[in-house]
């Protein structure tokens, strides 16, 4: 099967899926849903095929296809180079899981959904996947923008279509508006280049960017960065993210959090290293440092806010902010180091490798976690952890897979999260030893922040997993939960397997990174830098001694030791095995003894109080004397600084202003006439007299 026909095959699958789910819905909603998701699955598989074909094919090969002339003023085309192929690969991996998981979830989560809604969801899902895939494959600005907006629009439809709750509509609104603002920035950046080149295709834009003056170049970069940062959910532009992502159906949340944000990363890379990059010499100083800074900030703030969420999906959404931050740290470092005299290509390549590897890793485990949260949701219809608990005994598969994802996202060995963070650390170390003075200190500081992030993530997921799945069920929702249907488990299994594989044998994934890294940085490929000592060993040859770890060996060691310990434990133990209630100082244990999420996160809430502005109110009902307390009611919440300090203020000001204006406006006709007369008068004074 030829790779060249791949894109058209993909388009065909997604298109067919979209149409069929529209048309078949009249006949049978369920059937339409199934067909739509099957088509999506086919499209995703085709996507994997195309991307692998490009990534493992002839090095430096770019797959280009002209599109029919839709607009006379622009030549549209697809072009799949290493970078595009890699992101297409990531997208398709998660898309497979979502397509497997989707139908059963939608049926289980909203059995009463009308056929119209199901049609909309099937349609939107296919459009969403297709647009994401083709944003990365776009060979010109116009295709990029169309798919970009199509992506936003489709995901918006999915968000608002999930249920008729007003909350979703609001979340969708915020999402749509911010995305639109971002697109406006992108529009300006693209058009400024297109105006200079007179054409829209990337090759022409590249040429046009060749002879930009530094100021314009940097302005355009920051415009684009702003546009993509909104989509990527970088602090403080993240406000929409924790509202919109949880509102969508869970497999769509997985796609939005796991993949859609990455498309923004793709855009940043495309602009920084490809379109706007100067012909020779390093990137302007300000670019990389800005990206590094926002990356670090997003990582820390993202996880700190995630820590205080009790809504499972919202918590996961905030973690996406964190992980995007981690990716951006790598990207920023690569931008700083690229073509720096003194720095050989290896270091930049290492940083970029770390970023790209974390991209796929985050896609895998975040997808897995959202799917897990989804199956909890569709069985209990509760998103608030405080109302869950004890699910590990009721949905063991879901629990196990969720735990896997939790370990992975907490960057703990031997799973994939650790690998990419390790690489990021190595890159930071290299950067730190490369830069002397404050710059180096900044690099090291962001390394420390990265460590803090990892620790907090671990804490957060100890809470998320523990409170949701362990202990006793706190409500009847959790009491009567049952295991999710097999197709959903299968979808999660796929991503779980990816997490393990990418963690234990990352070297093989690194091979896929050769094309993008070498193509983007025109330096050594990823595997030349990272897996010089064989695919099973990750090594950084930054110094003669270098550093090397073998995740495979670590995993083997762990398994062997665990086996030994297990034998030790079973072997020495006489079969005395008693099951008794938990020790609660002799009282009869109930679910109320369990530590709640709020309680678990309280110490950190107090440690970082300066950031949270926590608000708590405790009302106690006493029986006459203050010493006998009958009931205590506790309510606490924390605020998102960006939200309260920026967004609420701005929206309030604007709407107040508009109200005031509107209230002032007169309905009297002589007022109208006065305005006309005044306009004429002013215009005559302004333009009437001849200007010398």
């Amino acid at each position: 099967m030829d790779v060249d026909s791949g894109p058209s095959l993909m388009a065909a699958c997604y298109g067919a899926g979209a149409l069929s789910s529209l048309l078949l819905a009249r006949w049978s909603g369920r059937f339409a849903l199934a067909v739509g998701h099957l088509a999506a699955l086919a499209g995703a598989v085709a996507g994997v095929g195309v991307s692998l074909g490009v990534l493992l094919g002839v090095p430096g090969r770019t797959l280009t296809q002209p599109l029919p002339v839709f607009f006379p003023f622009a030549r549209l085309s697809l072009s799949v180079d290493g970078l595009s192929a890699y992101f297409l690969f990531v997208i398709s991996l998660v898309a497979i899981a979502a397509a497997i998981y989707g139908p059963a979830y939608l049926r289980a989560h909203s059995p009463d959904a009308g056929s119209a809604r199901q049609a909309a969801q099937g349609f939107a899902l296919n459009v969403f996947l297709g647009c994401m895939a083709f944003v990365c494959c776009a060979g010109d600005a116009l295709t990029f923008l169309f798919c970009w907006e199509g992506m936003t629009l489709a995901s918006y439809v999915l968000v608002v279509s999930d249920d008729r709750d007003g909350e979703n509509a609001r979340a969708g609104l915020l999402y749509m508006v911010m995305a639109h603002g971002g697109t406006a920035l992108l529009l300006v950046a693209f058009l400024a280049l297109a105006e200079r080149s007179g054409a829209f295709d990337f090759a022409a834009l590249r040429m046009a960017a060749g002879d930009l003056d530094p100021a314009t170049r940097t302005t355009l970069f920051f415009l684009a960065l702003g546009g993509f940062a909104v989509k990527a959910g970088v602090v403080p532009l993240h406000v929409w993210l924790p509202r919109a992502h949880p509102a969508a159906p869970s497999h769509v949340s997985a796609l939005m959090s796991g993949v859609m944000l990455k498309v923004a990363i793709y855009g940043i890379l495309r602009f920084a290293f490809d379109l706007l990059a100067p012909v020779a010499g390093p990137l302007p100083f300000s670019w990389g440092w800005t990206v590094l800074f926002v990356g670090t900030t997003s990582a820390v703030l993202g996880v700190l806010y995630a820590l205080q969420q009790h809504d499972l999906k919202r918590l996961l959404a905030f973690h996406s902010v964190e992980n995007i931050g981690i990716i951006l740290i790598g990207v920023g470092l690569a931008m700083i180091l690229w073509r720096q005299e003194g720095a050989d290509g290896a270091l930049a390549t290492l940083a970029l490798t770390a970023a790209l590897l974390h991209t796929v890793n985050h896609a895998a485990f975040k997808g897995l976690l959202f799917l897990g949260a989804g199956s909890v949701l569709c069985r209990t219809h509760v998103r608030d952890m405080e109302k869950l608990g004890g699910l590990a005994r009721r949905m063991p598969w879901t629990a196990g897979l969720f735990l896997l994802g939790a370990i992975a996202i907490s960057a703990l060995p031997p799973l994939n999260g650790f690998v990419s963070e390790w690489l990021t650390f190595q890159a930071l170390l290299g950067g730190a030893s490369r830069f002397h003075g404050p710059a180096g200190l900044v690099v090291v500081f962001s390394a420390a922040m990265l460590a803090l992030t990892g620790g907090l993530a671990a804490a957060c997921f100890a809470k998320a997993f523990g409170v949701t799945f362990l202990g006793r069920p706190r409500t009847s929702h959790a009491e009567h939960a049952t295991e999710a249907p097999p197709s959903m488990i299968a979808g999660m299994m796929w991503l779980g397997a990816l997490c393990v594989a990418l963690g234990v044998a990352p070297g093989y994934a690194v091979r896929l990174l050769d094309a993008p890294t070498a193509g983007l940085l025109q330096g050594p490929g990823a595997s030349a830098v990272v897996t010089a000592r064989g695919p099973l060993v990750l090594s950084t040859a930054l110094t003669p001694t270098g550093t090397a770890i073998s995740m495979t060996m670590v995993a083997g060691l762990l398994i062997a030791l665990a086996a030994i310990a297990w034998v030790l434990r079973r072997g020495l133990q006489p079969d005395k095995w008693r099951v008794v209630p938990t020790w609660t100082c002799g009282m009869k244990p109930t679910a109320r003894f369990d530590y709640t999420a709020t309680a678990f996160a309280k110490p950190l809430r107090l440690v970082f109080a300066a950031l949270y502005h926590p608000r708590r109110e405790v009302t106690r009902e006493t029986a006459g004397t203050p010493y006998v307390v009958q009931r205590i009611h506790y309510a606490g919440e924390i605020v998102d600084l960006a939200e309260t300090q920026i967004y609420h203020r701005v929206t309030r000001e604007i709407s107040a202003f508009s109200q005031a204006i509107r209230a002032r406006s007169t309905g009297r006709i002589y007022g109208y006439i006065g305005f006309v007369l005044g306009a004429l008068f002013v215009a005559l004074l302004l333009f009437g007299v001849r200007h010398p």
């Binding site: 509107r662 209230a663 406006s665 007169t666 309905g667 009297r668 006709i669 002589y670 006439i673 006065g674 006309v676 007369l677 004429l680 008068f681 005559l684 004074l685 009437g688 007299v689 001849r690």
Partner: protein, 214 residues
């Protein structure tokens, strides 16, 4: 020769305009606008004799019939038929309106002075006078509350346009002028109907309605 006559007529037109602005009673405004139209007709005649352009005679005649007699009569009839209050109700004091009118005069003369020689295009002071009449007419509409005064203002400002149009060398093409006048009549008709309609349905002056806003 013609220039001087046109200029004198222009001065008279300005005077009638001031009368309209200053008119405290609706009847006076109507009479003033009728007089103004009469002056326009005279100007048409003068220009016709000067240039020997037959069209201008026709136009002068039509103006005399329609604008100097018919429309004022209609307005008069309306005012009598529906017993509206005779006083015009100024939005801002008449003195202030007059001051604004003066500003308009100054600006429009200044403007046409800045144009340099337009003699070969437009006769005499017709341009500044025309601008003044047009703007002041609209000014009257913008500063009066009753519908009829606004119609008066409208006719006044159209007189200004006509004056300039006539003063243009060789006048405007006849057919156009006729069309314009027909449109004016039609508009006046529709407006009158509306005024009467509102007066009959809700007993209010149509120009006073201000439910629609914002």
């Amino acid at each position: 020769m013609v220039h001087t006559i046109i200029d004198d007529l222009g001065a008279l037109l300005l005077f009638t305009m001031i009368l309209i602005v200053a008119a405290g009673q609706i009847y006076r405004a109507i009479y003033a606008v009728a007089a103004q139209s009469l002056l326009i007709a005279i100007a048409g005649g003068v220009l016709a004799r000067a240039t020997g352009n037959v069209d201008l005679w026709v136009i002068a005649g039509v103006t005399l019939v329609v604008k100097a007699t018919l429309l004022p009569w209609v307005l008069h009839w309306v005012v009598k038929r529906m017993n509206v209050r005779r006083e015009v109700e100024p939005v801002i004091p008449v003195a202030a309106t007059l001051a604004l009118a003066v500003v308009i005069v100054v600006v429009s003369f200044q403007l046409s002075a800045s144009l340099g020689p337009v003699r070969q295009a437009i006769t005499g002071n017709a341009l500044p006078v025309g601008i003044t009449l047009t703007l002041t007419g609209v000014l009257v509409m913008a500063t009066r509350k009753t519908a009829l005064t606004q119609m008066v203002g409208l006719f006044a400002s159209e007189n200004g346009i006509f004056f300039t149009a006539m003063a243009v060398t060789r006048g405007m093409p006849l057919i156009i002028e006729i069309g314009v006048i027909l449109d004016v009549i039609l508009a006046a008709l529709v407006m009158t109907i509306m005024v009467l309609r509102v007066r009959s349905t809700v007993d209010a002056d149509i120009a006073d309605l201000d439910r629609l806003k914002g």
